[in-house]
Symmetry: C2
Subunit: 546 residues, 2 copies
């Protein structure tokens, strides 16, 4: 494979081509988990070796030299990469399907080149060039925007559509803190900043964004916006779309700068049309977000509920009374039983019977105390028993680790994936039952028992999200096996009136359900916006819009 | 004029053709106000008589009999009105410009007919018929949706655009409470329900919506959604767009049902594209909103601050710490000086020097106590002096009365209007100064001093709205006089980076500033959505989209 020089290496995504996260952070399965796998699923845990990047046979780049020379002129030769390493590391996201595909010793697909623009102007020039490319004899070029590479819905699949080639547009060089208005609590952040980079820059000035999805360590500001991300502290700080006060989208048709005020009645809120647009309308290059002073105080409390229904009613009461926790979540009996909420203790002695709930509070000392007291009173009145702060702190400590565990489970011959949805409170029981049954039935038909674990990950006054973790044995072709189970779960969501995704976005994988989600006319609206902003259709073909 | 029968009378809007609100609620100016007018503005207060509806010369209906027969077949003869009374009462909104125009003894314009459909199907049939009308020899028909008739931005102007006729589509028959999910706290409300009607239906089941804009008594659920309304309790319950969980829009291209979950990552939030669409994309016929139990407890406290800057800093601290009032607002020195916040005491002895702030709290007893205590601590620390609860209750008592006062001022020879905007906290002083100066200068050039009063009406963590009330003497042609002043104020908003409207919407009056607001490309996006949903362009020509 091509050997990039040092300058180029710095421009590589930090994750391995075929695994989540920092390779150094990957940990083997504990004895407890191995015992659980064997006992519950008959998975013997023999680890199959990964396919190393240097052994991968990669589909040759389809980008012509003429095209790559011109693109290199726009971004500089160092930032137009056609080497295998650069391409392979942008081959896709990190869903279980992605990782299973990368265990295949056959030819792997990848973008035909990687561009790393350093400015909005360079991005505009790339969009112009690729838009014009459709009519050229060298063939047209599609673009897949790339942030942290953490998509779990096929959002980064190198789909060429009607084009001859597809390039990955990696935004990691857009790492500027453009401005911080300390009075208003508003920061303008470059789209390429990762979660930790953004928090570090803000912390230097005493501020925090407070957006902590599980992908936090790798995902980017632009990605959060493009996918309508929601973080684990959403009860306190809102979803990412609540945090966005303005954003710039560079499109083939020009630049769209939105957000002249925190809120406005000047027509539809076009910010909310760009948030969640997943790179099909344009490239989000900078985002103005609400930030807050680094909290002066924090407090934690874990709770036990006799069952999921009682716990869910308690969470509902907390959010409907506006009690004000920063974090609140509830594991069901199965998830509590395997300690999934506190990843480092999986398979060990249970923290509690029934269902474990976590609460955390942030703010001034007085604020934290009053919110904690009010939340505690509601939780107690609703049948909760306090477990003190230790399990809540353990949850926080391991909050970003689950994907590593998933990778180890896949390697050990288990099938493991997560999926998520949301619905009104009154529909939570029906939705939970329907998805659980669909997964269990589909995987059962493939010949394996399945552990279906669930937690309420985000709450709203009118409803909540349900986050499912599925563990089963791999049977036959595990890609087909999971595809069937996922389809069954998705259909169960649609049947029960829920949304196809609460915070993972649409990408290629959820696209078949977009017509159920927004109707044929909603799809026509998205198409109309797409045609206006990206008339040549170069941006992320095969994603989001069916 | 035509004399409608009783059944038809019930279908008339409750407001007079040329004045705000309930005619019975109109009150003459107090001696205090008369003295103030004379002293400050040289307005002698001689009341000019209104032009009564029966004396109005109305532009004859341009709707052909063929068209009105067909439309009557769709809605029923009783609900297709071409009589002068019905038309005149939908002639426009209630801005100062609207009311000044209605003092003119010349020919008044009005929609050519009024349709009162009773169902989504009838609305769909009307849209089909009017869309097809463009090609007919009788001429095409445009539609102006009509809710409570409270627009103050020309949103109801009977603009025909390229069409031969325009009909008012009055939604007052859509008054159903379609459903109430008491567990989830979500109600589906018919678009034609007024604020009080919706609250009454919900209160019967123990719930409340909590949306109280100044237009509350007359405006409708559909209107709140179509204009991105914001109520006086927005600190506690959010803007109307925060309350909407789903909505149905009947468009010429079909029906758009949006909102499968409280929040979703399934692409852009198309709900936020319909909210604020002001009838140019379709007719919003039902809205699913977040509701809450009628609060068990309330508390009130008014505050005095030495000056506006100190008070604004206090409000900012309250919202940025998340202290949690339901209502919080701050009058500037001038507004405090004339007691405008408590309309019944205008011109009497001042409640306080400096600046008056109002806070109110709603929820459970414990919730109210903790929020009030935290807010009080922040207000005190920021330099506020408590005035107890009386002025806050007085504000609440008179909270919907200001428009009546405006009408009396107009009749007495004063010019009076309000305008509003929003910006980041750091920009509040510059925006306030710029708008005040623009208004004072423009009105000064017309030969009158001007009282420019201002309050912060809505707060967000990153910024606030500024709501201005202007009182001056009428000079020359008061329509031209105000148009110039309003233009100067709007340009000041644009120059200082603020939004053209925080909660009054765009209509015809703010349309010239939409390109500044969202850019040429944003306008193209709106046009693309418009063309998809309303290909014949029959819906509200001349509104919102420039």
């Amino acid at each position: 494979m091509t050997r990039p020089d040092d300058q180029q290496t710095a421009m590589l995504p930090p994750m391995k081509w075929n695994a989540w996260g920092d390779p150094a952070a990957a940990t083997p399965l504990s004895d407890g988990i191995r015992a659980l796998l064997k006992q519950a699923l008959g998975v013997d845990g023999a680890t199959t070796p990964d396919l190393e990047a240097q052994d991968v046979e990669l589909r040759p780049s389809a980008l012509t030299d003429a095209h790559s020379d011109r693109l290199a002129q726009i971004v500089g030769a160092a930032y137009c990469r056609v080497d295998d390493q650069a391409r392979l590391l942008r081959a896709g996201g990190k869903s279980t399907l992605d990782l299973l595909r990368r265990k295949d010793s056959g030819v792997q697909d990848a973008p035909d080149a990687v561009l790393l623009p350093g400015s909005d102007d360079e991005i505009a020039a790339i969009l112009r060039y690729c838009s014009d490319s459709a009519g050229r004899r060298e063939g047209g070029i599609a673009i897949v925007p790339f942030g942290g590479g953490t998509s779990v819905v096929g959002g980064l699949d190198p789909i060429r559509g009607d084009f001859s080639a597809v390039v990955s547009l990696d935004l990691r060089r857009l790492t500027e803190l453009h401005s911080l208005d300390e009075v208003s609590g508003e920061a303008e952040l470059g789209a390429g900043l990762t979660g930790p980079e953004a928090e570090r820059l803000l912390a230097e000035r005493g501020f925090s964004l407070g957006h902590f999805p599980q992908s936090f360590q790798f995902a980017t500001i632009g990605g959060f916006a493009a996918t309508r991300s929601s973080g684990q502290d959403s009860a306190g700080y809102g979803r990412f779309n609540d945090m966005v006060r303005g954003l710039r989208t560079v499109t083939p048709a020009g630049v769209l700068d939105l957000g002249r005020a925190p809120e406005s009645a000047a027509g539809p809120d076009l910010r909310q049309l760009m948030i969640g647009s997943e790179g099909v309308f344009g490239i989000i290059t900078r985002v103005r977000v609400k930030v807050h002073p680094v909290p002066a105080a924090t407090s934690y409390e874990a709770w036990s509920f006799p069952d999921f229904a009682t716990g869910a009613d308690a969470l509902r009461a907390v959010v409907q009374t506006g009690a004000g926790p920063t974090v609140i979540r509830l594991s069901d009996e199965a998830e509590t039983g395997v300690n999934l909420a506190t990843t480092e203790r999986i398979g060990e002695q249970q923290i509690t019977g029934g269902c474990l709930a976590i609460t955390a509070f942030e703010g001034s000392q007085a604020h934290v105390e009053s919110r904690h007291a009010e939340t505690r009173a509601v939780m107690q009145a609703a049948g909760g028993t306090s477990l003190g702060e230790a399990p809540a702190r353990a949850w926080e400590h391991g909050r970003f680790n689950a994907p590593y565990l998933r990778d180890s489970l896949l390697a050990a011959g288990a099938l493991c994936e997560t999926l998520e949805t949301a619905t009104n409170w009154s529909n939570v029981p029906a939705l939970k039952a329907a998805v659980t049954e669909a997964l269990t039935k589909s995987l059962g038909e493939s010949g394996t028992p399945a552990l279906v674990l669930c937690h309420i990950s985000h709450v709203y006054p009118t409803g909540a999200s349900l986050y499912f973790t599925v563990v089963a044995g791999q049977r036959g072709n595990p890609i087909e096996q999971w595809h069937k189970a996922k389809t069954a779960a998705s259909e169960a969501m649609m049947r029960t009136g829920a949304t196809i995704t609460h915070h993972h976005a649409v990408g290629a994988d959820h696209r078949p359900w977009m017509r159920d989600e927004i109707g044929d006319l909603g799809v026509e609206v998205l198409r109309a916006v797409k045609t206006t902003l990206d008339p040549a259709g170069i941006l992320n073909p095969g994603k989001l819009i069916p």
